[in-house]
Structures are given as C-alpha cells and as structure tokens.
Amino acid sequence: MKQLLATAALALTLTVPLGAAQAETWNVGMSGGYFPFTFVKLDELQGFEVDFINALAAETGNDANFVTMSFSGLIGALESGRIDTVANQITITPEREAKFAFSQPYVFDGAQVVVKKGNEATIQTTEDLSGKTVAVNLGSNFEELLNGLPNAGEIEIKTYESNIAQDTALGRVDAFVMDRVSSAQLIQESPLPLALAGKPFSQIRNALPFRDTDEGRALRDQIDAAITTLRENGTLAKISQKWFGSDITTAE
C-alpha cells in the first residue's frame, strides 16, 4: 500500500515548483483578493503589485510567475520555499525582520479605520474603537497593530481571510482596519457604502520579504538594485499614479 501511495503521488505531481536556483523565474506569492494591490477581474490578475513585479522582472531580464493563495498562507509558503517572495503589501515589522531579508520599502502608507457610510462620526480616533467589533485580515500586520493599542482589551477583533469590506458594509462588524491608500481606492471604486473614519493611526512601510539564506539574500540584492533604478527613472511613481492617483512609493 505504501508503494501504491508513493506511485500515486509521483504520478499525480503535475508541476514541481521551481527552486530559486534557476533564477530566471521568480515565484511571487500574492492573495489575488486585495484591491487594488492584487485582485482578479474576469480571470485577469492585476493591481499595483502585479505591475510592480512585472516592471522589476523586465528591468532585470527575468520572468515572474504569480502564485495566488490565501493571505494567511503566504508567509508559510515563503518559508517552505514554495514561493520566493510575497508581493502583497507586506509591512516591515521587527518580528518579520528577524526572520526574513527585506528589500527596501516601496510603499509608504498608514493604517486606517473604515466604517459603514453614515457612521464616520462615531469613530474618530482609535480610542473610539473600545466596545466595537473590528475586522482585520488574518495574519496581517493590522491585526498586530490593533492588539498593540492601549485599549486592545476592549476591542473585539475578528479575523478574516478576505471580504472584510463586505462584512463591514453589511453591518456584521462596526469597522475594519486596512491601509489608507487601499481604503480610499476601495471607497472610490467599489459599490460598497463605506467611509474613512478619522486619520491614519500608524505609519507602515511595505517591502518584499525573502528567505534569509544566501540564495534569498542574493535575490533580494538583485531586486533591491532594480527597485532603486525604477524609483529613479520614475517607473514606480507612474505605477502608483495609475492605481492610486498619487505617489505612495516615496517617504513623505
């Protein structure tokens, strides 16, 4: 029976992900469900991250292979080598820096509370979140940010794989927390009745994480140099303008 299973496993393995050794193809992980950074419309994967990675690949003469999976599985997939990096607005945190080799930041943003339209007045600061139910994406940095607030004990935090905006619009939760620029785009582009509540309450910097190995660091250095080039020749600003109507790729 063991043999049978082994044979079945071999026969069934359609594609074995390429290791980073063949540096011509980068396996880039993303959720494909985080508007407007990475999302799908009629089978076309698109967004700021997709354009950004494609520009990097073009700049360095490599190919990018996008691998979509649920957000909470991305970091694990990076660790286990299923993917080489994550392009999904990954925020630099001390915990993550201890584990991964990060590129330079390519998005400068803030954390933002979003509520159902009409409730903007009820939440102006993070103190107002006390006694409220707040949705965040599972495994996201915003979950940690909320837990780190002085009044964290009084906030009921609900974690989601996706669809936090929809549940806020339906009134199942009082608010959700996400980055400012995505929130603004979401409110502008989607039919959901949502509104920004108060000012961004925390600065965040996003970068590409790589495995902290010789191979991972080599890939990081290569990509880092390309980010610098794209920043200097205006490509980053152009991609940002396309998706956000403003340049979010440089520190204010």
Partner: protein, 224 residues
Amino acid sequence: MRALDVEYMLDLLPVLLGYVPLTLFMAVVGMACGLILAALMAVERVAKVPVLDIFVRLFISFFRGTPLLVQLFLFYFGLPQMLSFLTTINGVTATIMGLTLHFSAYMAESIRAAILGVDRAQWEASRAVGMTQAQMMRRIILPQASRVAAPTLINYFIDMVKSTSLAFTLGVTELMGAAQKEAAGSFLYFEAFLVVAAIYWAMVETLSWGQRRLETYLNKAHAR
C-alpha cells in the same frame, strides 16, 4: 435591495467554466486512486489478514473520523514542517491525495458490505470448482459486488466533485477559489457565488443522470 447584475454573471460564466476541467480532473483522479485503494482494503477486511487488518481498521477509522478539511490542512500545512520533502507537493496534488485517502475509507466500507452481500452459495460453488481465493474474488465475487456497490460509489464521486472546492484553502485557484477572487475584485458577491453554485449544480445533475442510466443498465442483466 439592488438589481442583479445579469451582464456581469454572463461575463463571468465562461470564465468560471474554464475551471471545470481542473475540478473534474481532481475528482476523477481522486476517484480512480480511491477506488483501487478502497477495493484493496475491502478485500483485506473480508479476508482479515493478521496485523495488516489492524492498520487498515485504524486507517478507515481515522479518515472517517476526522473532517476532510482537517486532513487537508494536516497534510499540506502540518506535515511539511516534520517531513521537509513534502513541501514539493503542490496544492492540486495534495488535494487529490486528501480526497483519495478520505473517500477510500468510506468506499472501502461500502465495497466490503457489497462483498459480504454476495450469496454464500456463490463462494461455496467457486471453491467447489477448485478456484483459488484470488480467482474467486476476481471472477465471481467482485463483479457481483460491484453491481450492488455502484450507486453508492457514484454518490461518493458526486460528493468528491463538490469537495474539490476545499482545494482553495490550500491556495489552489479552482472553481470556488476563482469565484471568490472574482467577487473580491468586483464586490458583486451574490452574482459570483450564484454562478458558481449553478455550475456545481449542473455538474452534479449530469452525474446523477449518468448514475440512473448505469443503474438501469446494471439491473437489466438481473431482471428475472
């Protein structure tokens, strides 16, 4: 109450239909491997091979006793931490293996019941004409048992087709995963999930029709 975006649904239908082959591929391969495994286990359970029997019973007990989702997570996210070579297995393969193991446990039990349902006289007659155990199983018992087991096994196949939707949780963009992503991009959740439900329904109805045809055909030979 907002209006249903029919135009979007019509645009989405061909896109999502493109994922049907992957769904059917996972179910068909899972079913084929599951049937082989189940038949082997069923024959073992009837023959009661010492020692091996304990393992087979344990296997069936575990895979019937835990949810498929738990098994998939254990296998895809859990085990690779212990056995690093498993990281090379992708989501589609892991799903197929999960479906194979999970459903083989159920199917083994239905096949076993079908084998035991074959008239004792058949067993005795086979022995009387000097057949070996293996010959008897292959030529006399299993063909009769499969007629009894077929409808139930097709039910498991239908269940398997629907269970492939769990592959999305392993990062596979299959039918359900694609629908979920489209919904997250367009914010038209109701339309996207309505289309995906219709596709699954149509697939299962087609299979049920085939099941009825097969049953009529199988029973024709036994009309007395």
